[in-house]
Amino acid sequence: MRNRLPRRVRVLGLLVVALVATPVVSLLCRVPWSRMPSLLTEQVVTDALLLSLLSSVLAAFVAVTVGIPVALLLSRMEGVLASVTRALIMLPMVLPPVVGGAALLFAFGRKGTLGSTLEEVTGLVLPYSLGGVVLANAFVALPFVVLTIEGSLRSLDPRFELAAASLGANEFKTTVRVVLPMVRGSLVAAGFLAWARALGEFGATITFAGNIPGKTQTLPLAVFVAMETDQEAALAMSVVLILISLGVLLTMRERWWPAR
């Protein structure tokens, strides 16, 4: 049992919760529920929805895959080097996504540092393509992935590695068969975080991959456009985004805070 909170604190807390809920509720009040089926089956909307789901899942997958070695590396680093590396990895979390998208263009654009070589060697052009959407989404999601996995790796008892080594396992076997399975919870959590971040991504995507309906126009971009042209469609798509986000938060609640 805990002490009862002072009345003033309770009232203030509930007031803030209500204030946060107001925009969501106001939005839900404006939704033309009877027209939802027809709104959601419009070509632009279904395209955006499918594109969003596809690109966000792929981006989460990419972010976790490339995030694992980075997190392993970071979890072994100490001192200034660790701080600098971690700051670099976390940069996309703090940076305005538009800046991130612009930076991606300079790196992976057709005239970019890596992009021109990439096109020469593989013929792959990332900007203004589905690949570009995935790259932009993975880029902004990576910090969440690395932080989540690194924290879990650091709290893993290092003696497990010693135990594995004492059983003859080399570093690779130890990492793949012992360390990563033991932090698998954080890998799942990182995947969901990355996916949630990617699903709402706007700035980096529009800068790097553009806003081409049916090709690179994800749900957030479609909502943004629809706000100018067809508010009811915008509301319908917003409802979908809200439901998906709430669903993820509720399923993952035990990962992020202890269930009551």
């Binding site: 497990f160 010693l162 594995a164 080594a165 004492s166 059983l167 003859g168 396992a169 570093e171 399975p181």
Partner: protein, 357 residues
């Protein structure tokens, strides 16, 4: 039999270790014979665990060498030390450190050379009913048995054990000690056992190395230590009662004919037993029930050290008992008073170095 085995064993481990860890400078020279078990004891922070880690290559040597079974693991002449996983050293931790995402079977097979865990090992450590269980379903004692089996299944040249029994309650501890003893006898080329319990050292080890503040302060048999303790810490540790006699199945008969009941069976020939003064209880009336050792004695000497009353008894059994000051007052202990001294058979530790085969 017993003592002769210490002498002419071929060397299994030859190590000279100088390691710095924080404020601690650890300097240890250590030779372990084939088949020998050495207990490492010492106060907290003396460097016991650091010694194990440095043998493993987890702590870099500042100088010195490690040679295991004629293979040089580390020495000043070596370019690079042999990495931990190629050292053929097994390690058993205080809390077992089983891999919780695997079943018992998968844990056992993890290091097993041929992926088939020796049936003898399963039988020896009584694991047949546990094999398909998940680690979370095991008790502390079961975990330690699995941890030991997992280590032995990898067929190491030598096993390092870091307080392997400390997470167990007293009854499980006695049982686990017996299992360790038989495992050491049948499976092991040699072992280093870090422990804080003289009972472990006495039952399992041929020799005891005492580390204090990074240095070896005494290295010999436990009875050597008790006969001539080199430091106050050792003197305090080894306040134990030691008796020699001849084994007759589960009984040890002392020279004067007094019988000591143990929880062992099949004892034969010369046997040494040890009894912790803390497990001797005193009564004014003859105790009834329970299979115990009860001896009619007299209080020969009585000293108070803090909250503890150290009682030296004479009579059929010359034994020392540590009881609480309160208990001593309730019994009205004084020199010359007749009392019954009582010890459970399971509290009588039988020396392990006698290998009766």
């Amino acid at each position: 039999m017993a003592s002769a085995m210490n002498d002419n064993r071929p060397t299994l481990l030859d190590a000279h270790i100088v390691v710095e860890r924080g404020d601690l400078l650890l300097e240890v020279a250590l030779q372990v014979g084939q088949g020998e078990t050495i207990a490492i004891m010492g106060p907290n922070g003396a460097g016991k665990t650091s010694l194990l880690y440095s043998l493993f290559g987890w702590l870099p040597l500042r100088s010195g060498w490690i040679i295991l079974d004629d293979q040089t693991l580390d020495s000043p002449a070596e370019e690079r030390p042999v990495p931990p996983h190629l050292r053929n050293l097994g390690m058993v931790f205080d809390d077992g450190l089983l891999f919780s995402h695997m079943t018992v079977e998968q844990n056992l097979a993890f290091g097993a050379a041929d992926k088939l865990v020796d049936a003898r090992l399963i039988e020896l450590l009584d694991l047949s009913t546990l094999r398909s269980k998940r680690v979370q379903q095991l008790s502390a004692g079961q975990r330690q048995r699995v941890a030991l089996a997992r280590t032995l299944a990898a067929e190491p040249k030598m096993v390092l054990l870091d307080e392997p029994l400390s997470s167990l309650d007293p009854s499980a501890r006695t049982h686990a000690r017996e299992l360790l003893k038989s495992a050491f006898r049948s499976e092991l080329a040699g072992a280093l056992l870090v422990t804080h319990d003289p009972a472990d050292a006495f039952a399992l080890a041929d020799r005891v190395m005492v580390l204090e503040n990074g240095k070896v302060t005494q290295f010999g048999s436990l009875s050597d230590l008790s006969a001539q303790p080199a430091t106050p810490w050792i003197a305090d540790l080894i306040g134990w009662n030691f008796f020699t006699g001849s084994g007759k199945n589960s009984i040890v008969v002392l020279a004067d004919g007094t019988e000591v009941a143990t929880s062992q069976s099949g004892l034969l020939g010369d046997v040494t037993v040890a009894i912790n003064p803390g497990s001797v209880s005193l009564f004014l009336e003859a105790p009834v029930g329970s299979p115990r050792n009860n001896w009619r004695c007299e209080v020969f000497d009585l000293q108070f050290v803090g909250d503890v009353a150290r009682v030296t008894l004479s009579g059929v059994m010359k034994i020392r008992a540590d009881i609480t000051r309160t208990a001593a007052a309730e019994l009205g202990l004084r020199k010359g008073l007749g009392v019954w001294a009582s010890v459970k058979a399971t509290e009588v530790v039988v020396q392990g170095s006698e290998r009766s085969n």
